[in-house]
């Protein structure tokens, strides 16, 4: 395949020498482009500006949303805890303990024996009984039974009973102090000082 190549080149040179001479590269005059430049530049700069501004706005918006999210989250938390607190208060109000105390303070007593009216024939089942204060029960709240460390037992001091002789001596003392009581109290005062 390589052998015929130089032959052919030689042949072409020989045959088309004039044509080659004619077709030699030449400097051509510069063509001024007809397309107006302004729209293109405007378009590109518009795109650029729009991109930058868009990005900026997108960022700002996202930042704004983040602020809003944080704020809303906080608000949600606050509302949740508020709901819980209200729920707690509601439970306190519904507490059977509170209701019982309130009822008792209004002078109510629990019913004694259940009795029913059968609607089909108007018959009374059970023994209807009037409830009195004796049917009540102790509905006070539980008292705190403190552990020993918080509730020390009362200190008891045992005084030995006096013997007969002591009592007699005391009685004698009393009669004597009765006769000159003023001096003895004075003495007591002084000794205290």
């Amino acid at each position: 395949m390589s052998s015929p190549l130089p032959q052919s080149r030689v042949r072409v040179q020989r045959i088309a020498e004039a044509a080659v001479e004619r077709a030699r590269l030449r400097v051509v005059p510069r063509l001024s482009s007809r397309a107006p430049r302004v729209p293109f530049v405007t378009l590109v700069s518009l795109l650029l500006v729009a991109g930058v501004v868009g990005l900026l706005m997108f960022n700002t918006n996202m930042q704004q949303n983040s602020f809003a999210a944080t704020e809303l989250e906080q608000q949600a938390n606050e509302l949740t805890s508020r709901e819980q607190t209200l729920q707690m208060e509601l439970e306190k109000l519904r507490d059977p303990q509170r209701l019982a105390e309130k009822a008792q303070s209004m002078g109510m007593v629990p019913a004694v024996y259940p009795a029913f009216v059968r609607l089909s024939d108007g018959k009374v089942l059970g023994e209807p009984t009037v409830s009195t204060a004796e049917n009540g029960f102790d509905a006070r709240p539980p008292e705190a039974r403190k552990p020993k460390a918080l509730d020390p037992p009362p200190i008891e001091i045992k005084v030995p009973a006096k013997t007969k002789a002591q009592r007699r001596a005391e009685a004698r003392q009393r009669t004597r102090s009765g006769s000159n009581g003023s001096t003895s109290t004075n003495q007591g005062d002084r000794s205290e000082r």
Partner: protein
Amino acid sequence: MSLRHQTTRATVRGSAPSRSAGLFRLRFGFVVIAMVLSVFGARLLQLQGLDPHAYAAMAAREGVQNVVLPAERGAITDRNGVELATSVDGLMIVADPQMTEDDAGPIASYLSQELEIDYFATLAKLRKDDTRFQYVARRVPSTVARRVIDALEEKGYKGLTTRRDPMRDYPADDVAANLIGFIGDDEDFGPLAGFERTFDKQLSGVDGKTTYEVGGGNRIPLGTNNTVKPVNGKDLQLTIERDVQWFTQRVLREAVRGAKADSGTAVVVNTESGEILADADYPTFNANEPLKSPERNLGSRATSDPYEPGSVEKALTFSALIDAGKITPRTQITVPSVLESQNAVIHDHWDHETIHLTAAGALAKSSNIGTALSAREFTPDELNGYLRGFGLGQRTDIGVRGESAGRIPDPSTWGQLGQDNIAFGQGLSVNAVQMAAAINTIANDGVYIDPSLVKGEAVADNGVKVGTSTTQTRRVISEEAARQTSEMMELVTDPVDGIAPTSAIPGYRVAGKTGTAQRVGKECGCYDGTFTVSFAGFAPADDPKFTVYVVIQNPRNGMGGGAAAGPVFQKVMTYLLRKYGVPPTGARPTTLPVEW
């Protein structure tokens, strides 16, 4: 041409020294720039090449927030979904004494008013030396805490901050506290007692966490952001009814105090389902302030304290005898004044000559001798088999911590005296829930049904599944035997023949059995002269809906089971019948003969 050349030369000649100076400046500038750049390069190498991770971590520490997302702890509710234990967002208020010292007075007075804390203790905390951290108040509802802190800030006082401090609130204070337990102040230790601890795994859930970058207090939108969502705890629903539990606790307390007793227990069982509607203990504690009660009151006596059941057990013995075909309610028993048994003698609780009682009469009058004589028809193994069938000697596994199984001695060791004693409820021990379930078997037409405290199903911390969906049933005695025993038990509340007329409810048929048992003292291991009095019963006797069992330990006013525990039974049962709208059946009461 030449002119131009000359000019050029002249210019060159004239600027020769300045040109070399410029060159020098240029070179000097380059050198300076090169030096600065190489410093930068070295720094860059140091930052990026030598220890990049430490700096990256430092940068991350500046902006990245790691936040634990706490899982919400499940609530413990009663059978109707009323919350008995619930978690509330709480905050602790923390003071920096160095900042609060000067304004301690007004701050303390405001806080003590708003939070109901002690003024002087707060004052001391706000003035404490050598510290920058003092707890002022803990477990404050967050709305309250925020309001207080905002108000103080508005007044210009600084140095108080809040931190997260989850609260466990027990809205009903002491209601069912013996079962629910409590969570201690220190979160790290977790729950300390009761269901809070037993079912902690289910209740606590799994904390989540989130990592995000922060700028100026707000999340950076496109920064790192990882979130693992928390898995909230599941609620635990009990079979307890809050109002019934509350009522039972109050009535029981009144009775225990009235009898000057050590303690008391009352168990209310729904006959058909075995669900426990109330399991009351006294003394108990306030779950919101567990530390204010002694430790021995923090558990559930109904399951943890075994005792000898006494005469209530006679109902089980007689029902077993009837089921085995050994006796009928009308079987005639000649009851001597005393019964010799091995080397001992058995007495009745009242003095009598030889009397003629029917089996029904022996139960109604609670005769030890009559019961022991009848039970001699059984071999020890037979009686033991029935008692175990009733669930005695085995844990009920209702999910309460520290349950005692009670004890039935090995039947081969009973002997005559042992068997006689066990027949009327001495010489074996039970817990209150076991005994309630056993009596409930008679109420439930002879079918034992596992008692339960948890609705549905829950796994305790020892791996045992508990709850109503795991309930199993078994027939212990025949339906006929159960009906006949129930009729015999009706005589106990009979105003004429029975020994516990205070337990009767006019209009209703009520079956019951009193119990007065000698107690084994802790020190001597023998009967120490104190008693356990009890009453078990169900109503309406011909179609039972509820079984109520009341035990009072060591009453000091000389009352027996009928007088001390009977009224508690009667009040609680009346309450139940009214609350659940159970009308009287209208059937005629039983007319079994007591004597012959």
